[in-house]
Symmetry: C2
Subunit: 195 residues, 2 copies
């Protein structure tokens, strides 16, 4: 019900985010200090840390929301669909729900060009990656002579994310000129198609 508070919060968040991403793109992530971002966004350092717990959250803060969306989407796929196809469908949905192309490109470049950011990004993802495992396990035919379903599910989820990551890196490297979903399919094909 609190209207003005929430609305001005949204505005502030967006303003800080825009300032931060602009500065990161201009001078690099490491070279940009929290003090500078706060100054240019017209907010105190203390408040900035209340909006974004860490400097890294300025870049990969909305990961959590995307993770939630991905999980729900995968769950809702028809039961007879394979784990791989369900995850692929989830990935497709995330693509459309993400930032506009230009912004996504900028963020991806930033993440893949900054080792510490890249690592943080993956680490954050690993957290909600774990929540996807039970969803995938439920979709596996537990035939005999196969690895434990948990091992199987974890490996599949980890591989899918590895391919998403690789595809995104290539996509950013090509300035978005190649379709991201196509790249993902190529990555998965390189892994799953034998011969």
């Amino acid at each position: 019900m609190t209207t003005l508070w929430e609305r001005s919060r949204q505005v502030a968040v967006q303003a800080i985010l825009d300032t931060a991403v602009r500065l990161f793109a201009e001078q690099g992530y490491e070279q940009t200090t929290i003090a500078q971002i706060a100054r240019e966004a017209g907010i105190s350092q203390r408040s900035l840390f209340r909006y974004f717990g860490t400097k890294e959250d300025l870049v990969c803060g909305d990961q959590e929301a995307l993770g939630e969306l991905l999980k729900r989407t995968v769950e809702q796929q028809p039961a007879e669909m394979s784990a791989w196809d369900a995850l692929r469908a989830g990935f497709e949905v995330i693509l459309t729900a993400n930032h506009p192309r230009e912004r996504a490109l900028e963020l991806s470049r930033l993440i893949f060009d900054t080792p510490s950011l890249h690592a943080r990004y993956i680490e954050k993802r690993l957290r909600w990656q774990a929540e996807l495992v039970p969803v995938i396990r439920a979709r596996l035919g537990n035939g005999p002579g196969r690895p434990a379903p948990d091992t199987q599910a974890k490996a599949i989820v980890a591989t899918v994310f590895a391919c998403i990551d690789t595809a995104t890196e290539l996509w950013a490297g090509h300035d978005g000129r190649i379709d991201l979903a196509d790249l993902y399919d190529q990555c998965l094909a390189a892994v799953r198609d034998h011969g």
Copy 2:
């Protein structure tokens, strides 16, 4: 001329490492300060930072050497061996070159339980990955109708590391009672074996 300087350096490194790992295990990584480690190891803070550039290096500092070893091992596999088998052979070598079981378990648990450490560990691993890509690309038959070799190589390397990571996490979760190489094979089978 390896002299007293180098020898006492080795001794100091080992002493610091032992102190650090012990303290980390006793009170947790975040709760242990550099000042405390330096004090208990009988060295100045300044010198500690000369031996280990960062606090994280106290735990995953020898990753660099392992990465180098991995790359060399993969390169030296017979040319007709597939990319997958060559990487698997490299993984096998690393297993034997790593710390003794107990120490490796302790370190793995520490890394997987500490987000900032985990991130740093991933960062170091990403560097190995990048260096392995050209080695793997050279091993790919570039038949027609396949994804670009670079895409293929990146995807394969990323997947192998995803499986190594998954296997290691499972291994640490089972207190090392299940063979790590077996877990890795199970992960890869879950990904590559269809049906």
